[in-house]
Symmetry: C2
Subunit: 280 residues, 2 copies
Protein backbone atom coordinates (compact mmCIF):
# COMPACT_ATOMS: atom_id res chain seq x y z
CA UNK A 1 0.00 0.00 0.00
CA UNK A 2 1.23 3.50 -0.80
CA UNK A 3 1.25 6.37 1.66
CA UNK A 4 -1.52 8.28 -0.10
CA UNK A 5 -3.86 5.27 0.07
CA UNK A 6 -2.92 4.63 3.72
CA UNK A 7 -3.67 8.23 4.69
CA UNK A 8 -6.89 8.22 2.65
CA UNK A 9 -8.03 5.14 4.58
CA UNK A 10 -6.95 6.66 7.91
CA UNK A 11 -9.28 9.56 7.10
CA UNK A 12 -12.22 7.13 6.99
CA UNK A 13 -11.55 5.98 10.58
CA UNK A 14 -13.23 7.66 13.55
CA UNK A 15 -11.35 10.98 13.74
CA UNK A 16 -11.09 13.40 16.63
CA UNK A 17 -12.54 16.79 15.60
CA UNK A 18 -9.15 18.27 16.50
CA UNK A 19 -7.43 15.96 14.02
CA UNK A 20 -8.39 18.52 11.37
CA UNK A 21 -9.11 15.74 8.90
CA UNK A 22 -5.47 14.62 9.14
CA UNK A 23 -4.68 17.51 6.78
CA UNK A 24 -2.72 19.76 9.10
CA UNK A 25 0.69 19.69 10.78
CA UNK A 26 -0.76 18.75 14.15
CA UNK A 27 -3.92 17.93 16.06
CA UNK A 28 -5.56 20.49 18.30
CA UNK A 29 -7.32 19.44 21.51
CA UNK A 30 -9.29 21.76 23.77
CA UNK A 31 -8.86 20.64 27.38
CA UNK A 32 -9.85 22.58 30.45
CA UNK A 33 -9.27 26.21 29.53
CA UNK A 34 -6.26 25.45 27.33
CA UNK A 35 -5.57 24.05 23.89
CA UNK A 36 -3.08 21.27 23.27
CA UNK A 37 -1.22 20.82 20.01
CA UNK A 38 -0.01 17.27 19.32
CA UNK A 39 2.01 15.75 16.49
CA UNK A 40 3.76 12.47 15.72
CA UNK A 41 6.44 11.84 13.09
CA UNK A 42 8.70 8.90 12.39
CA UNK A 43 12.06 8.56 10.70
CA UNK A 44 13.57 5.36 9.32
CA UNK A 45 17.06 4.35 8.31
CA UNK A 46 17.39 4.19 4.54
CA UNK A 47 14.31 6.37 4.07
CA UNK A 48 14.85 9.60 6.00
CA UNK A 49 18.57 9.21 6.61
CA UNK A 50 21.47 7.21 5.25
CA UNK A 51 22.68 4.10 7.10
CA UNK A 52 25.99 5.86 7.85
CA UNK A 53 24.37 8.91 9.41
CA UNK A 54 25.52 10.04 12.84
CA UNK A 55 22.81 8.91 15.29
CA UNK A 56 23.29 12.26 17.06
CA UNK A 57 21.92 13.98 13.97
CA UNK A 58 19.12 11.42 13.61
CA UNK A 59 17.90 12.20 17.13
CA UNK A 60 18.24 15.94 16.57
CA UNK A 61 16.29 15.90 13.33
CA UNK A 62 13.60 13.56 14.67
CA UNK A 63 12.85 15.96 17.51
CA UNK A 64 13.37 19.08 15.37
CA UNK A 65 10.80 18.09 12.75
CA UNK A 66 8.21 17.47 15.46
CA UNK A 67 8.99 20.76 17.21
CA UNK A 68 8.74 22.47 13.83
CA UNK A 69 5.14 21.22 13.58
CA UNK A 70 4.47 22.85 16.96
CA UNK A 71 6.18 26.03 15.75
CA UNK A 72 3.89 26.08 12.72
CA UNK A 73 0.91 26.18 15.08
CA UNK A 74 2.43 28.83 17.35
CA UNK A 75 2.58 26.30 20.18
CA UNK A 76 4.95 26.23 23.12
CA UNK A 77 6.38 22.73 23.70
CA UNK A 78 5.30 20.90 26.85
CA UNK A 79 7.39 17.80 26.20
CA UNK A 80 8.06 14.90 23.89
CA UNK A 81 7.81 11.11 23.92
CA UNK A 82 10.36 9.03 22.04
CA UNK A 83 10.18 5.57 20.49
CA UNK A 84 13.59 4.25 19.53
CA UNK A 85 15.22 1.18 18.07
CA UNK A 86 18.16 -0.06 20.11
CA UNK A 87 21.25 0.08 17.92
CA UNK A 88 25.03 0.20 18.16
CA UNK A 89 24.62 3.95 17.87
CA UNK A 90 22.18 4.38 20.75
CA UNK A 91 24.72 6.23 22.92
CA UNK A 92 25.19 8.84 20.17
CA UNK A 93 21.43 8.96 19.60
CA UNK A 94 20.92 9.78 23.27
CA UNK A 95 23.61 12.50 23.09
CA UNK A 96 21.74 14.11 20.20
CA UNK A 97 18.49 13.81 22.10
CA UNK A 98 20.05 15.48 25.13
CA UNK A 99 21.46 18.27 22.94
CA UNK A 100 18.20 19.28 21.31
CA UNK A 101 16.13 18.94 24.49
CA UNK A 102 18.62 21.18 26.27
CA UNK A 103 18.87 23.66 23.37
CA UNK A 104 15.10 24.17 23.21
CA UNK A 105 14.41 23.60 26.91
CA UNK A 106 11.95 20.79 26.15
CA UNK A 107 11.59 17.97 28.69
CA UNK A 108 11.13 14.28 28.00
CA UNK A 109 7.72 12.87 28.94
CA UNK A 110 8.31 9.24 28.14
CA UNK A 111 9.83 6.71 25.85
CA UNK A 112 9.84 3.18 24.61
CA UNK A 113 12.58 1.11 23.00
CA UNK A 114 12.63 -1.95 20.80
CA UNK A 115 15.37 -4.17 19.54
CA UNK A 116 14.34 -4.27 15.89
CA UNK A 117 15.58 -7.05 13.66
CA UNK A 118 16.23 -4.80 10.65
CA UNK A 119 16.93 -1.16 9.86
CA UNK A 120 16.34 1.20 12.75
CA UNK A 121 13.20 3.29 13.11
CA UNK A 122 12.33 6.09 15.47
CA UNK A 123 9.18 7.94 16.41
CA UNK A 124 8.52 11.13 18.30
CA UNK A 125 5.36 12.63 19.70
CA UNK A 126 5.54 16.32 20.56
CA UNK A 127 2.95 17.91 22.82
CA UNK A 128 2.58 21.66 23.07
CA UNK A 129 0.33 24.33 24.48
CA UNK A 130 -1.32 26.71 22.04
CA UNK A 131 -0.50 30.37 22.63
CA UNK A 132 -3.43 31.74 20.62
CA UNK A 133 -7.18 31.29 21.02
CA UNK A 134 -7.35 30.13 17.41
CA UNK A 135 -4.57 27.79 16.39
CA UNK A 136 -3.55 28.65 12.81
CA UNK A 137 -4.45 25.93 10.34
CA UNK A 138 -3.31 25.39 6.78
CA UNK A 139 -6.80 26.24 5.67
CA UNK A 140 -7.22 29.89 6.68
CA UNK A 141 -5.53 31.75 3.81
CA UNK A 142 -7.80 34.45 2.35
CA UNK A 143 -7.70 36.29 -0.97
CA UNK A 144 -5.92 39.58 -0.38
CA UNK A 145 -3.53 38.08 2.18
CA UNK A 146 0.18 38.47 1.75
CA UNK A 147 2.29 35.30 1.81
CA UNK A 148 5.24 35.48 4.19
CA UNK A 149 8.23 33.25 4.77
CA UNK A 150 9.97 33.19 8.15
CA UNK A 151 13.40 31.58 7.97
CA UNK A 152 15.44 30.71 4.92
CA UNK A 153 15.05 28.03 2.29
CA UNK A 154 17.75 26.51 0.13
CA UNK A 155 20.43 25.90 2.74
CA UNK A 156 19.35 22.32 3.47
CA UNK A 157 19.53 21.50 -0.24
CA UNK A 158 23.06 22.86 -0.48
CA UNK A 159 24.01 20.85 2.59
CA UNK A 160 22.50 17.68 1.14
CA UNK A 161 24.35 18.20 -2.16
CA UNK A 162 27.60 18.67 -0.27
CA UNK A 163 27.10 15.49 1.75
CA UNK A 164 25.93 13.27 -1.10
CA UNK A 165 27.49 14.77 -4.27
CA UNK A 166 30.59 16.45 -2.93
CA UNK A 167 29.42 19.92 -3.94
CA UNK A 168 30.64 23.00 -2.11
CA UNK A 169 28.59 24.23 0.82
CA UNK A 170 29.14 26.14 4.03
CA UNK A 171 29.08 24.57 7.47
CA UNK A 172 25.81 26.41 8.06
CA UNK A 173 24.32 24.73 4.98
CA UNK A 174 25.34 21.29 6.24
CA UNK A 175 23.98 22.07 9.70
CA UNK A 176 20.73 23.26 8.11
CA UNK A 177 20.32 19.79 6.56
CA UNK A 178 21.56 17.66 9.46
CA UNK A 179 20.34 19.66 12.44
CA UNK A 180 17.45 21.87 11.41
CA UNK A 181 16.36 24.53 13.86
CA UNK A 182 12.62 24.65 14.54
CA UNK A 183 11.42 28.26 14.56
CA UNK A 184 9.53 28.04 17.83
CA UNK A 185 9.90 31.66 18.92
CA UNK A 186 9.00 32.96 15.46
CA UNK A 187 5.98 30.67 15.33
CA UNK A 188 4.66 32.04 18.60
CA UNK A 189 5.21 35.63 17.45
CA UNK A 190 3.49 35.06 14.12
CA UNK A 191 0.59 32.86 15.19
CA UNK A 192 -1.69 35.71 16.41
CA UNK A 193 -1.36 37.39 13.00
CA UNK A 194 -1.47 34.33 10.75
CA UNK A 195 -4.64 33.45 8.88
CA UNK A 196 -2.87 30.22 7.86
CA UNK A 197 0.50 28.82 8.84
CA UNK A 198 2.54 25.65 8.22
CA UNK A 199 6.15 24.60 8.11
CA UNK A 200 8.00 24.10 4.84
CA UNK A 201 9.14 20.51 5.16
CA UNK A 202 8.61 19.16 1.63
CA UNK A 203 9.35 22.22 -0.52
CA UNK A 204 8.00 25.76 -0.70
CA UNK A 205 5.95 25.22 -3.87
CA UNK A 206 4.52 21.90 -2.71
CA UNK A 207 3.69 23.13 0.78
CA UNK A 208 2.22 26.37 -0.57
CA UNK A 209 0.06 24.31 -2.94
CA UNK A 210 -1.20 22.36 0.10
CA UNK A 211 -2.05 25.58 1.92
CA UNK A 212 -3.83 26.84 -1.20
CA UNK A 213 -5.81 23.62 -1.66
CA UNK A 214 -6.78 23.52 2.03
CA UNK A 215 -7.85 27.17 1.91
CA UNK A 216 -9.65 27.05 -1.45
CA UNK A 217 -7.44 29.79 -2.88
CA UNK A 218 -4.58 30.18 -5.32
CA UNK A 219 -1.18 31.30 -4.05
CA UNK A 220 1.09 33.34 -6.31
CA UNK A 221 4.74 33.31 -5.29
CA UNK A 222 7.47 35.66 -6.49
CA UNK A 223 10.21 33.70 -8.29
CA UNK A 224 13.31 33.00 -6.24
CA UNK A 225 16.70 33.46 -7.85
CA UNK A 226 17.38 29.82 -6.95
CA UNK A 227 14.49 27.93 -8.56
CA UNK A 228 15.55 24.60 -7.03
CA UNK A 229 15.36 26.05 -3.53
CA UNK A 230 11.61 26.47 -4.04
CA UNK A 231 11.22 22.74 -4.75
CA UNK A 232 13.27 21.29 -1.93
CA UNK A 233 12.27 20.48 1.61
CA UNK A 234 14.09 19.99 4.89
CA UNK A 235 14.49 23.68 5.64
CA UNK A 236 11.69 23.95 8.21
CA UNK A 237 10.98 27.59 7.50
CA UNK A 238 7.46 28.83 8.32
CA UNK A 239 5.01 29.81 5.60
CA UNK A 240 2.10 32.02 6.54
CA UNK A 241 -0.69 33.99 5.01
CA UNK A 242 -1.60 37.18 6.83
CA UNK A 243 -3.14 40.57 6.27
CA UNK A 244 -0.80 42.83 4.29
CA UNK A 245 -1.84 45.75 6.46
CA UNK A 246 0.21 44.35 9.29
CA UNK A 247 3.51 46.17 8.90
CA UNK A 248 4.90 44.76 12.15
CA UNK A 249 5.53 41.37 10.58
CA UNK A 250 9.24 40.73 10.38
CA UNK A 251 9.33 37.88 7.82
CA UNK A 252 9.85 38.33 4.14
CA UNK A 253 6.83 38.85 1.87
CA UNK A 254 7.16 36.32 -0.94
CA UNK A 255 3.77 36.36 -2.63
CA UNK A 256 0.06 36.88 -2.37
CA UNK A 257 -3.17 34.96 -1.93
CA UNK A 258 -5.61 35.15 -4.84
CA UNK A 259 -9.16 33.96 -5.35
CA UNK A 260 -9.26 30.35 -6.43
CA UNK A 261 -8.09 29.77 -10.01
CA UNK A 262 -7.24 26.68 -12.02
CA UNK A 263 -3.94 26.05 -10.21
CA UNK A 264 -3.11 25.81 -6.52
CA UNK A 265 0.14 27.66 -6.92
CA UNK A 266 1.64 30.12 -9.40
CA UNK A 267 5.11 31.63 -9.68
CA UNK A 268 5.12 35.22 -10.93
CA UNK A 269 1.52 34.67 -12.00
CA UNK A 270 2.18 31.61 -14.15
CA UNK A 271 1.58 27.87 -13.61
CA UNK A 272 4.63 25.89 -12.50
CA UNK A 273 6.33 23.21 -14.60
CA UNK A 274 8.12 20.26 -13.03
CA UNK A 275 7.87 18.73 -9.56
CA UNK A 276 6.79 21.07 -6.77
CA UNK A 277 8.79 19.36 -4.06
CA UNK A 278 9.45 16.13 -2.26
CA UNK A 279 6.48 13.78 -2.65
CA UNK A 280 6.59 10.98 -0.08
Amino acid sequence: MHEAEFIATLRTLPLHPGARGLSDDAAVIAIGGETLVVTHDMVAEGVHYLPGADPFDVAWKLVAVNLSDLAAKGAEPIGILIGASLTDGSARFLEGLRAILTEYDVPLLGGDTIRAAGPAGFGCTAIGRATTATVPARSGAQPGDTLYLAGEIGAARRGWLALTKGEQASEDDIAAYLRPRPLLAQGRTLAPRAHAMMDVSDGLLLDASRMAAASGVTIDIDAFADDQAMRWGDDYALLLAASPLDSALPPRAIGRVLPRQAHDVLVDGRPVAGPLGYQH
Copy 2:
Protein backbone atom coordinates in the same frame (compact mmCIF):
# COMPACT_ATOMS: atom_id res chain seq x y z
CA MET B 1 23.05 -0.97 23.84
CA HIS B 2 20.54 -2.90 25.96
CA GLU B 3 17.15 -1.56 26.94
CA ALA B 4 18.05 -1.15 30.61
CA GLU B 5 21.06 1.01 29.74
CA PHE B 6 19.04 3.03 27.24
CA ILE B 7 16.31 3.74 29.79
CA ALA B 8 18.90 4.54 32.48
CA THR B 9 20.43 7.13 30.14
CA LEU B 10 17.02 8.52 29.20
CA ARG B 11 16.48 9.15 32.92
CA THR B 12 19.52 11.46 32.93
CA LEU B 13 17.97 13.69 30.22
CA PRO B 14 15.85 16.72 31.11
CA LEU B 15 12.62 15.07 32.31
CA HIS B 16 9.17 16.59 32.65
CA PRO B 17 8.04 16.40 36.32
CA GLY B 18 5.02 14.46 35.06
CA ALA B 19 7.29 11.85 33.47
CA ARG B 20 7.44 10.28 36.95
CA GLY B 21 11.10 9.44 36.42
CA LEU B 22 10.13 7.21 33.46
CA SER B 23 9.14 4.61 36.04
CA ASP B 24 5.39 4.56 35.56
CA ASP B 25 2.98 3.40 32.86
CA ALA B 26 2.35 6.90 31.59
CA ALA B 27 3.21 10.57 32.02
CA VAL B 28 0.87 12.95 33.82
CA ILE B 29 0.55 16.59 32.71
CA ALA B 30 -1.52 19.23 34.50
CA ILE B 31 -3.01 21.64 31.98
CA GLY B 32 -5.95 24.01 32.00
CA GLY B 33 -7.38 22.68 35.27
CA GLU B 34 -7.34 19.12 33.93
CA THR B 35 -4.78 16.36 34.01
CA LEU B 36 -3.60 14.60 30.88
CA VAL B 37 -2.24 11.07 30.85
CA VAL B 38 0.08 10.26 27.95
CA THR B 39 1.87 7.07 26.92
CA HIS B 40 3.82 5.77 23.92
CA ASP B 41 4.57 2.15 23.05
CA MET B 42 6.02 0.50 19.98
CA VAL B 43 5.75 -2.97 18.52
CA ALA B 44 8.09 -4.56 15.98
CA GLU B 45 7.84 -7.55 13.70
CA GLY B 46 9.95 -10.43 14.97
CA VAL B 47 10.06 -8.93 18.48
CA HIS B 48 6.49 -8.39 19.64
CA TYR B 49 4.77 -10.48 17.01
CA LEU B 50 5.66 -13.18 14.51
CA PRO B 51 6.20 -12.27 10.83
CA GLY B 52 3.12 -14.28 9.88
CA ALA B 53 0.81 -12.49 12.31
CA ASP B 54 -2.43 -11.02 11.00
CA PRO B 55 -1.85 -7.24 10.73
CA PHE B 56 -5.40 -6.80 12.08
CA ASP B 57 -4.22 -8.27 15.37
CA VAL B 58 -1.01 -6.22 15.31
CA ALA B 59 -3.01 -2.99 15.08
CA TRP B 60 -5.44 -4.15 17.77
CA LYS B 61 -2.70 -5.10 20.21
CA LEU B 62 -0.66 -1.94 19.53
CA VAL B 63 -3.61 0.25 20.46
CA ALA B 64 -4.79 -2.07 23.26
CA VAL B 65 -1.47 -2.00 25.13
CA ASN B 66 -1.46 1.80 25.04
CA LEU B 67 -5.08 2.03 26.16
CA SER B 68 -4.21 -0.41 28.94
CA ASP B 69 -1.65 2.08 30.22
CA LEU B 70 -4.41 4.70 30.33
CA ALA B 71 -6.68 2.20 32.12
CA ALA B 72 -3.98 1.65 34.73
CA LYS B 73 -4.06 5.37 35.52
CA GLY B 74 -7.88 5.54 35.56
CA ALA B 75 -7.81 7.80 32.49
CA GLU B 76 -10.48 8.23 29.86
CA PRO B 77 -9.01 8.16 26.32
CA ILE B 78 -9.07 11.39 24.31
CA GLY B 79 -7.47 9.91 21.23
CA ILE B 80 -4.42 8.23 19.75
CA LEU B 81 -1.70 8.96 17.22
CA ILE B 82 -0.31 6.16 15.07
CA GLY B 83 3.04 5.68 13.38
CA ALA B 84 3.02 2.81 10.92
CA SER B 85 5.25 1.07 8.43
CA LEU B 86 3.65 0.65 5.03
CA THR B 87 3.44 -3.07 4.28
CA ASP B 88 1.58 -5.54 2.11
CA GLY B 89 -0.68 -5.99 5.12
CA SER B 90 -1.55 -2.33 5.60
CA ALA B 91 -5.18 -2.80 4.54
CA ARG B 92 -5.64 -5.44 7.28
CA PHE B 93 -3.73 -3.25 9.74
CA LEU B 94 -6.17 -0.42 9.07
CA GLU B 95 -9.13 -2.79 9.53
CA GLY B 96 -7.78 -3.76 12.94
CA LEU B 97 -7.23 -0.12 13.79
CA ARG B 98 -10.80 0.70 12.83
CA ALA B 99 -12.10 -2.21 14.89
CA ILE B 100 -10.43 -1.24 18.16
CA LEU B 101 -11.11 2.49 17.76
CA THR B 102 -14.77 1.69 17.18
CA GLU B 103 -14.94 -0.87 19.99
CA TYR B 104 -13.55 1.55 22.59
CA ASP B 105 -14.97 4.74 21.02
CA VAL B 106 -11.52 6.29 20.75
CA PRO B 107 -10.84 8.73 17.88
CA LEU B 108 -7.70 9.08 15.84
CA LEU B 109 -5.75 12.31 16.39
CA GLY B 110 -3.02 11.85 13.83
CA GLY B 111 -0.64 9.53 12.15
CA ASP B 112 2.52 9.15 10.16
CA THR B 113 3.65 6.41 7.82
CA ILE B 114 7.02 5.24 6.56
CA ARG B 115 8.07 2.75 3.94
CA ALA B 116 10.66 0.91 5.98
CA ALA B 117 13.32 -1.14 4.27
CA GLY B 118 13.19 -4.05 6.72
CA PRO B 119 10.81 -5.60 9.23
CA ALA B 120 7.79 -3.47 10.04
CA GLY B 121 7.52 -1.33 13.14
CA PHE B 122 4.61 0.54 14.63
CA GLY B 123 4.19 3.14 17.35
CA CYS B 124 1.17 4.48 19.18
CA THR B 125 0.73 7.45 21.46
CA ALA B 126 -2.41 7.43 23.59
CA ILE B 127 -3.66 10.59 25.25
CA GLY B 128 -6.22 10.48 28.01
CA ARG B 129 -7.91 12.66 30.58
CA ALA B 130 -7.44 11.75 34.23
CA THR B 131 -10.67 11.09 36.10
CA THR B 132 -9.18 11.51 39.57
CA ALA B 133 -7.45 14.45 41.24
CA THR B 134 -4.52 12.18 42.03
CA VAL B 135 -3.53 9.85 39.22
CA PRO B 136 -2.54 6.50 40.75
CA ALA B 137 1.16 5.76 40.39
CA ARG B 138 3.05 2.54 40.84
CA SER B 139 4.63 4.03 43.93
CA GLY B 140 1.72 4.52 46.31
CA ALA B 141 1.30 1.07 47.86
CA GLN B 142 1.26 1.22 51.67
CA PRO B 143 1.83 -1.45 54.30
CA GLY B 144 -1.58 -2.70 55.37
CA ASP B 145 -3.05 -2.36 51.88
CA THR B 146 -4.71 -5.28 50.20
CA LEU B 147 -3.47 -6.27 46.75
CA TYR B 148 -6.25 -6.65 44.19
CA LEU B 149 -6.34 -8.01 40.67
CA ALA B 150 -8.99 -6.81 38.19
CA GLY B 151 -9.27 -9.08 35.20
CA GLU B 152 -7.84 -12.53 34.71
CA ILE B 153 -4.31 -13.75 34.13
CA GLY B 154 -3.22 -16.94 32.42
CA ALA B 155 -5.46 -16.86 29.35
CA ALA B 156 -2.89 -15.10 27.15
CA ARG B 157 -0.31 -17.73 28.02
CA ARG B 158 -2.66 -20.53 27.06
CA GLY B 159 -3.43 -18.73 23.82
CA TRP B 160 0.27 -18.30 23.04
CA LEU B 161 0.96 -21.96 23.76
CA ALA B 162 -1.87 -22.95 21.44
CA LEU B 163 -0.59 -20.73 18.62
CA THR B 164 3.08 -21.63 18.94
CA LYS B 165 3.15 -25.16 20.43
CA GLY B 166 -0.15 -26.59 19.28
CA GLU B 167 -1.45 -26.98 22.84
CA GLN B 168 -5.17 -26.98 23.55
CA ALA B 169 -6.80 -23.66 24.33
CA SER B 170 -10.18 -22.02 24.02
CA GLU B 171 -11.02 -19.33 21.50
CA ASP B 172 -11.19 -16.90 24.41
CA ASP B 173 -7.63 -17.81 25.38
CA ILE B 174 -6.39 -17.16 21.85
CA ALA B 175 -8.30 -13.88 21.71
CA ALA B 176 -6.79 -12.90 25.06
CA TYR B 177 -3.33 -13.22 23.52
CA LEU B 178 -4.04 -11.73 20.08
CA ARG B 179 -6.59 -9.06 20.93
CA PRO B 180 -6.26 -8.09 24.57
CA ARG B 181 -9.03 -5.97 26.04
CA PRO B 182 -7.86 -2.91 27.97
CA LEU B 183 -9.83 -2.58 31.22
CA LEU B 184 -10.73 1.09 30.76
CA ALA B 185 -14.01 1.09 32.64
CA GLN B 186 -12.55 -0.93 35.52
CA GLY B 187 -9.56 1.41 35.69
CA ARG B 188 -11.80 4.44 36.05
CA THR B 189 -13.88 2.73 38.73
CA LEU B 190 -10.84 1.64 40.71
CA ALA B 191 -8.63 4.74 40.38
CA PRO B 192 -10.30 6.77 43.17
CA ARG B 193 -9.68 3.89 45.60
CA ALA B 194 -6.23 2.81 44.44
CA HIS B 195 -3.16 3.79 46.43
CA ALA B 196 -1.11 2.32 43.57
CA MET B 197 -2.18 0.86 40.23
CA MET B 198 -0.52 -0.54 37.10
CA ASP B 199 -1.32 -2.98 34.34
CA VAL B 200 0.07 -6.51 34.29
CA SER B 201 1.90 -6.59 30.98
CA ASP B 202 5.07 -8.54 31.82
CA GLY B 203 3.84 -10.98 34.46
CA LEU B 204 2.08 -10.67 37.81
CA LEU B 205 5.14 -11.41 39.94
CA LEU B 206 7.43 -9.14 37.92
CA ASP B 207 4.96 -6.27 37.79
CA ALA B 208 4.11 -6.66 41.49
CA SER B 209 7.84 -6.55 42.27
CA ARG B 210 8.04 -3.25 40.34
CA MET B 211 5.13 -1.82 42.32
CA ALA B 212 6.81 -2.97 45.54
CA ALA B 213 10.18 -1.47 44.59
CA ALA B 214 8.60 1.82 43.52
CA SER B 215 6.58 1.97 46.75
CA GLY B 216 9.36 0.86 49.11
CA VAL B 217 7.30 -2.07 50.39
CA THR B 218 7.16 -5.83 50.06
CA ILE B 219 4.17 -7.44 48.38
CA ASP B 220 3.03 -10.91 49.46
CA ILE B 221 0.86 -12.70 46.93
CA ASP B 222 -1.28 -15.77 47.53
CA ALA B 223 -0.12 -18.66 45.36
CA PHE B 224 -2.17 -19.27 42.23
CA ALA B 225 -3.07 -22.83 41.29
CA ASP B 226 -1.34 -22.15 37.96
CA ASP B 227 2.16 -21.04 38.97
CA GLN B 228 3.14 -20.24 35.37
CA ALA B 229 0.24 -17.82 35.02
CA MET B 230 1.90 -15.64 37.66
CA ARG B 231 5.05 -15.35 35.57
CA TRP B 232 3.56 -14.58 32.18
CA GLY B 233 2.56 -11.26 30.66
CA ASP B 234 0.23 -10.11 27.91
CA ASP B 235 -2.93 -10.38 29.97
CA TYR B 236 -3.34 -6.66 30.68
CA ALA B 237 -5.16 -7.18 33.95
CA LEU B 238 -4.95 -4.35 36.49
CA LEU B 239 -3.01 -4.71 39.73
CA LEU B 240 -3.80 -2.34 42.55
CA ALA B 241 -3.06 -1.73 46.18
CA ALA B 242 -5.93 -0.28 48.18
CA SER B 243 -7.27 -0.09 51.68
CA PRO B 244 -8.74 -3.43 52.81
CA LEU B 245 -11.55 -1.59 54.59
CA ASP B 246 -13.07 -0.77 51.23
CA SER B 247 -15.58 -3.56 50.78
CA ALA B 248 -17.04 -2.01 47.63
CA LEU B 249 -14.09 -3.13 45.54
CA PRO B 250 -15.18 -5.73 43.05
CA PRO B 251 -11.81 -7.24 42.04
CA ARG B 252 -10.24 -10.27 43.60
CA ALA B 253 -7.99 -9.86 46.64
CA ILE B 254 -4.77 -11.73 45.85
CA GLY B 255 -2.35 -10.57 48.52
CA ARG B 256 -1.20 -7.90 50.89
CA VAL B 257 1.29 -5.08 51.20
CA LEU B 258 3.88 -5.47 53.95
CA PRO B 259 6.55 -3.19 55.36
CA ARG B 260 9.72 -3.40 53.32
CA GLN B 261 11.63 -6.67 53.75
CA ALA B 262 14.56 -8.27 51.95
CA HIS B 263 12.52 -9.17 48.85
CA ASP B 264 10.22 -7.09 46.65
CA VAL B 265 7.74 -9.89 46.28
CA LEU B 266 6.78 -13.02 48.19
CA VAL B 267 4.36 -15.84 47.39
CA ASP B 268 2.56 -17.22 50.43
CA GLY B 269 5.15 -15.40 52.54
CA ARG B 270 8.19 -16.98 50.92
CA PRO B 271 10.75 -15.65 48.40
CA VAL B 272 10.17 -16.71 44.81
CA ALA B 273 12.46 -18.99 42.84
CA GLY B 274 12.85 -18.69 39.08
CA PRO B 275 12.04 -15.88 36.68
CA LEU B 276 9.31 -13.49 37.76
CA GLY B 277 8.08 -12.71 34.28
CA TYR B 278 9.00 -11.46 30.87
CA GLN B 279 12.17 -9.35 31.07
CA HIS B 280 12.57 -7.23 27.93
